[in-house]
């Protein structure tokens, strides 16, 4: 028995019986108790519901895009409609799904639990973050309903400020507002990690997921204000003619690219880092082994959050920027791959000589490792100057970032969702359906996006509604994959909801995993722990020599 098993074994506290104590989920049922709750766990679920709804919208947009691309001559939609579809897909997926997904759902729910706290530092601010998120979402929905925006999620000027005939301003307002939700969540998490850790929970006893949430929160705080000002300047130019980017008004279009990418590159690490934290938790739990190189993995998280601010120029190799600048950004982009590689190697070393269970979360984790590595290395290709001169703005880039966002972040999200589902809901999901879903998603994903690497190298530019007929075969393959992927997504969406009523009731620690969240009931009580934990053990203190048969 390891030291952490002794936590909560205060003989004075009665063990949970069948008549379990009221937990956060079942305590109160009113709408008011949900929509005015300052409980981080309920807020996490509010976010879960919202981002799932947005994921569905963004996925429908993607489905329509892939439908349109079955034919090369663009006869399924008009070009204007197509342009609005891919823009809405990008805007919704980036800001209303990927960025909030893991931090605002799992982060909110688990951060206090993992550090032995009762709640985050500012619970009311936490609720406000969700309302701000929904306000930003409202603007985006309004944009969608009144006709959509067609600038691409990158909003390059002067097209977005002067030439676009779509509803750019409400879309921008939606994104500006939702940025404040990110900032406040990041602020809350940073203060929580600094000030709310339970006794004995030193920095190097925190789970890696907390380290990655902390690193992500630093990026939230430092990067988001820059996109805020960039988009505010776009609104000023479009609405009031205050020229910043349009040369006709005295502005400079490349200035926008700098401001935009200074945020948007770190933003992709906002999408990547929490996923890496989840995978670390999954790999450790399902190998029943402590994280190899824990300190290196922790430092690598901070390194990623720092170096990510130095590479934005790799999105601008071919916009006329100086050769020197491009060369420096290329070199730094190679450097930023190193901490990611550290994590991948450490995960592999953790699995080595572990005691592996191939349950659904572990299948997602292993899929993640494979797909993230591919995505990351194709990123290095793009960081290579002469290769990017060919591949910039082609489908190669689209494939690269979907390997990271879907093959990476989405798989991490689903893996974590399955892993912590019993903790959130008190129910187990049906394991065999879980595996079917994971397999379909993995296969569908690869069939969708691998052909896009080839399309990119062949020279098919991105954001193309109409394309040369020789690209049709690969496009059809990609669209077929998207269908399989969509079917795959249906599985967890249905059986997870099904499990809320019919799933097997879960014990406190169904996975026999280490971590303070597993020492409390499933679902946890409103204040997380009946007595404050005191930590005097290392993280992931699985016994060294795992028994041969478990």
């Amino acid at each position: 028995m390891s030291p952490s098993d002794a936590v909560m074994r205060d003989p004075g506290t009665p063990r949970p019986t069948l008549d379990r104590p009221a937990d956060y989920l079942h305590e109160e049922h009113t709408l008011r108790s949900w929509f005015f709750s300052t409980d981080h766990k309920r807020i996490g679920l509010l976010y879960l519901a919202s981002i799932t709804a947005f994921f569905v919208l963004g996925a429908i947009a993607a489905g329509l895009v892939r439908l349109a691309l079955i034919v090369p001559n663009g006869q399924i939609f008009t070009s204007d409609t197509y342009n609005r579809l891919f823009t809405m897909h990008g805007v919704i997926m980036v800001w209303f799904f990927l960025i909030p997904s893991i931090p605002s759902t799992f982060g909110n729910f688990l951060l206090p639990l993992m550090i032995g706290a009762k709640d985050v530092a500012f619970p009311r601010l936490n609720l406000l973050s969700w309302y701000i998120f929904m306000t930003g979402a409202l603007f985006t929905m309004i944009t969608l309903v009144i006709g959509g925006v067609d600038t691409g999620w990158t909003f390059y000027a002067p097209f977005s400020t002067t030439f676009s005939n779509s509803y750019v301003i409400p879309a921008l307002i939606g994104v500006i507002v939702v940025g404040f939700s990110s900032i406040l969540t990041g602020l809350n998490f940073v203060v929580t990690v600094h000030k709310m850790r339970c006794p004995g929970m030193t920095w190097f006893r925190m789970p890696i997921f907390v380290w990655t949430l902390y690193a992500t929160s630093l990026i939230f705080l430092l990067a988001t204000p820059v996109i805020t000002i960039a988009l505010i300047l776009l609104v000023m130019e479009r609405a009031f003619g205050i020229g910043i980017f349009d040369p006709r008004l005295g502005g400079d279009p490349v200035l926008f690219e700098h401001l935009f990418w200074f945020y948007s590159h770190p933003a992709v690490y906002i999408m990547v880092l929490p996923g890496m934290g989840v995978i670390t938790e999954l790999v450790a739990a399902f190998s029943a082994k402590k994280v190899f190189g824990y300190r290196f993995v922790a430092y690598a998280s901070i390194a990623l959050a720092s170096v990510t601010f130095l590479v934005w120029g790799h999105h601008m190799f071919v916009n006329g920027q100086s050769q020197l600048a491009s060369t420096v950004f290329s070199l730094l982009s190679f450097a930023v791959a190193v901490p990611s590689a550290v994590k991948v190697y450490n995960w592999t070393a953790t699995i080595h000589k572990g005691s592996i269970r191939l349950d659904t979360p572990m299948l997602y984790a292993m899929g993640y490792i494979g797909l993230f590595v591919l995505g990351g290395l194709t990123g290095l290709f793009l960081a290579t100057l002469a290769i990017d001169a060919h591949l910039h703005d082609t489908y190669f880039v689209v494939a690269h970032f979907h390997y990271i966002m879907v093959g990476g972040t989405m798989l991490a999200f689903l893996g974590g969702l399955h892993y912590w589902w019993p903790k959130f809901t008190g129910r187990m999901y049906p394991e065999s359906w879980g595996r079917v879903g994971a397999a379909l998603i993995f296969i569908g994903f690869n069939v969708t996006f691998f052909p896009q690497f080839i399309l990119g190298y062949l020279g098919m530019p991105r954001r193309y509604h109409v394309y040369p007929p020789e690209f049709q075969l690969l496009n059809i393959m990609s669209s077929a994959g998207a269908t399989i992927l969509a079917v795959g997504y249906f599985f967890p969406m249905t059986y997870l909801i099904w499990s809320l009523w019919y799933g097997r009731k879960a014990p406190a620690n169904p996975w026999n995993a280490k971590g303070l969240e597993w020492t409390t009931t499933s679902p946890p009580p409103a204040h997380n722990f009946t007595i404050t934990p005191i930590v005097d053990f290392e993280p992931y203190d699985y016994p060294n020599q795992a028994p041969e048969i478990v």
């Binding site: 070009s79 002067p158 916009n319 080595h352 490792i369 290769i387 109409v466």
Partner: protein
């Protein structure tokens, strides 16, 4: 979409390579792919193998050490980084050639606008969306946008460059054999972004010479520029004798001293900027009296006048 002369085979997995640069880029990416596989296949194989070999319930020796090893961490940080750095260098070297056109390249002017390309040969021949060039000759495209950001991309050459609305950018290449290849706009620019494509036709020098004659033009770009120069009375101040304004002979590409003391190179972008906004960057030694031609000269006119200025040689002593 364009006719299929440029079209590749539907089952092709690799694009045509129309220049030495294209071949070099292909070697680079193939080499990088090999090294990538060397670094990643062990991971894929490793995690699968370990997951099966050490699967719970299987008898195996699971005794392991401390769970940390600084030496192995440093090794697997530095060795892959060092390996990949080789590709950074290789890519930077190829890129160095790509962004530094030879001084004597044939210069073709291009303007991108929603949603078409206009190319102009030095002899004045104009083409819309399509471009004819001779093989085995250095070609430099000097381009600008008339509205939003576009980008000229020729996959067969493995190069692209954005066109911006307020400054010129360049793209250069040397196609090695005749053929027809697709060119695209690769920076999203609105409704018909995906229809802003065309064909690059590379011809043997002899065929190209014939084409130039057939394409018909009355005047070179520089000659058109000269006519504009006269029509707008530029010579009144800029002719060598007047002394009111700097002479333009030999100005192109030279270093110009500004009133503030700094120096700037008189390139296409700077010259165009001065014609539109003469008050910016005041030049040393002259009082600023030049009127602005903002709204007076079209983008094509500016290109032609700059071409004319480019053609004005240093006066022989």
């Amino acid at each position: 979409m364009t006719p299929d002369d440029a079209g590749g085979h539907p089952l092709a997995l690799w694009p045509a390579a129309a220049s030495l640069n294209a071949h070099e880029v292909d070697h680079l990416i193939l080499g990088f792919t090999v090294v990538t596989l060397l670094l990643t296949v062990p991971i894929f194989v490793g995690i699968t193998y370990f997951a099966l070999r050490y699967r719970v319930g299987r008898a195996a020796d699971r005794r392991h050490g401390e769970g940390r090893d600084v030496r192995i961490e440093l090794l697997w940080m530095l060795i892959p980084f060092a390996l990949t750095l080789g590709f950074f260098l290789w890519g930077a070297m190829i890129f160095n050639t790509e962004v530094n056109p030879p001084a004597d390249a044939m210069q073709i002017e291009a303007i991108g606008r929603q949603w078409m390309w206009k190319f102009e040969h030095p002899g004045g021949q104009a083409e819309i969306n399509d471009l004819h060039v001779p093989a085995r000759q250095d070609i430099k495209i000097n381009m600008i946008s008339q509205d939003v950001i576009h980008s000229l991309y020729v996959p067969a050459l493995r190069v692209q460059m954005e066109t911006l609305p307020d400054r010129y950018t360049q793209l250069w290449f040397k196609a090695d054999r005749p053929g027809v290849y697709r060119l695209y706009c690769s920076e999203y620019c609105g409704t018909d972004h995906s229809k802003m494509d065309g064909e690059l036709t590379v011809m043997s020098p002899a065929d190209f010479a014939k084409w130039l004659v057939q394409a018909g033009s009355t005047q070179s770009l520089a000659a058109v520029g000269a006519r504009l120069y006269v029509a707008y009375g530029c010579g009144g101040c800029h002719d060598a004798k007047s002394g009111i304004a700097p002479s333009l002979a030999g100005l192109y590409g030279s270093a110009v001293r500004l009133a503030g003391g700094s120096t700037v190179v008189a390139d296409d972008t700077w010259l165009r900027g001065k014609i539109l906004n003469p008050d910016s960057d005041p030049v040393a030694g002259y009082r600023q009296v030049m009127p602005s031609f903002h709204g007076v000269l079209k983008e094509d006119d500016l290109t032609h006048i700059v071409a004319y200025i480019r053609s004005l040689q240093e006066p022989t002593q």
